[in-house]
């Protein structure tokens, strides 16, 4: 997962209430870090960047010192930033699922419309598929095969997207636990 989306993911996790750094890391690892847990260093460098940009604020510091003792809260600007990130479709590309999955889970956690995110993404994929289909119609066999390769990958993403859309209610139950 890219650095940018770690920031947005941590922000999204803060939306349900202020958390300490170590608590944020634990929540991230539990929900999204199946194969790659976050390093503490990543959490603190990300949080200091978010702090500098006014997207989070320090809500309290527990005695004992150390960066992990800070409690962070999301600001209004932070909520707007998460909102914008969730609403912006990802550029269609292979292996998009982990980012999309994160967006869907965060939308459910923050009681936003997850189906909306999937609809917007489907539309973005279809836009790309229309361009490729048009290129294929006008091109030679080599163009057709190259475009077909891309089309099949995009189609696979969309099949995942449709299955996820059909399972949103179940997923909502799972992430609420």
């Amino acid at each position: 997962m890219l650095r940018m989306s770690i920031g947005h993911t941590l922000l999204g996790l803060l939306e349900s209430g202020p958390r300490h750094g170590y608590d944020l890391k634990r929540a991230f690892d539990e929900k999204f870090g199946q194969d790659r847990p976050l390093h503490y260093g990543q959490v603190y460098s990300t949080m200091s960047r978010l702090l500098k940009n006014g997207l989070v604020e320090v809500d309290g510091i527990e005695p004992g010192g150390g960066p992990e003792r800070k409690r962070y809260a999301i600001t209004d600007a932070g909520i707007t930033d998460v909102e914008r990130w969730l609403a912006t479709p990802e550029k269609p590309e292979p292996y998009l699922q982990s980012t999309l999955y994160t967006k869907v889970v965060l939308a459910l956690l923050t009681r936003r419309d997850a189906a909306d995110i999937l609809d917007t993404q489907r539309s973005e994929h279809l836009r790309m598929m229309r361009i490729l289909t048009d290129r294929k119609r006008k091109g030679d066999l080599a163009d057709q095969l190259i475009c077909d390769h891309a089309l099949f990958h995009l189609e696979a993403d969309l099949r995942w997207l449709e299955l996820t859309a059909a399972r949103l209610d179940k997923l909502a139950e799972v992430v609420a636990k």
Partner: protein, 228 residues
């Protein structure tokens, strides 16, 4: 608000079958020459929407205007005439008449409208040529492949020069190569005659032949062009 220049506009369509709500306030609009994909999961109401738009099934509530005329004010005979002369239909399985030859199948809508056999078959053959199936005119549907049969069905749907073509999963029974060729020929033919195409499909590769898509979920429609 009515999208200006639309040929077919539906607003607030509702339809229930017993306890099941098939449409729950769906909207739709299409311009001449436009291909609009209607997408959504099975049971979302997309086929019901197509049936209402085509005047096959009356909605319980809401309005459908075709070329400025309110469909609810037409009687059955007027709606049948509309379907026969202004609309064309392609379904997943060609639904060709097995006793007739392919060219007779394509000519059938013209014959029903009173065109002479000779003139009807001449027009039918020119459409079969465009759909690349002019070589099988004398065969019966049972003697041709699925892909050929579906092209015959597309030719039959277009032979009367309809202003709206309704296609419900038109490639659902074909392999991907045949399916794509049918979509290419169908959309080329429709665009060349400025016909609007309402394309119901759950396949993204088929929807990629459209100009835009609407998504139907739980009987409600979402026009993605106006959202993004």
């Amino acid at each position: 608000m009515t999208p200006s220049g639309s040929l077919l506009v539906a607003e607030g369509l509702r339809k229930t079958y017993g306890p099941t709500t098939a449409l729950d306030g769906a909207d739709f609009s299409i311009h001449p020459g436009e291909v609009v994909a209607v997408m959504g999961p099975s049971g979302s109401g997309k086929s019901t929407l197509l049936h209402c738009l085509a005047g096959i099934v009356p909605p319980d509530a809401g309005s459908i205007r075709y070329d400025g005329r309110e469909m609810a004010t037409m009687n059955d005979a007027q709606r049948s005439a509309l379907r026969r002369s202004e609309f064309g239909f392609v379904f997943q399985f060609g639904q060709l008449v097995p006793e007739l030859t392919c060219v007779e199948n394509v000519a059938l809508p013209l014959r029903l409208n009173g065109t002479s056999r000779k003139a009807a078959e001449r027009t039918a053959l020119s459409w079969m040529e465009r759909l690349e199936v002019d070589g099988i005119g004398k065969k019966r549907p049972g003697e041709v492949s699925g892909g050929q049969g579906q092209r015959v069905a597309v030719a039959r749907a277009l032979v009367t020069g309809p202003r709206v073509l309704f296609a419900d999963e038109p490639t659902g029974a074909l392999d991907s190569l045949n399916g794509e060729r049918v979509m290419e020929l169908l959309t080329d033919a429709a665009r060349s005659t400025n016909a609007a195409v309402v394309l119901v499909t759950h396949e993204a590769r088929v929807a990629a032949y459209s100009d835009r898509e609407i998504v139907v979920r739980d009987g409600k429609s979402r026009d993605m062009e106006r959202v993004v």
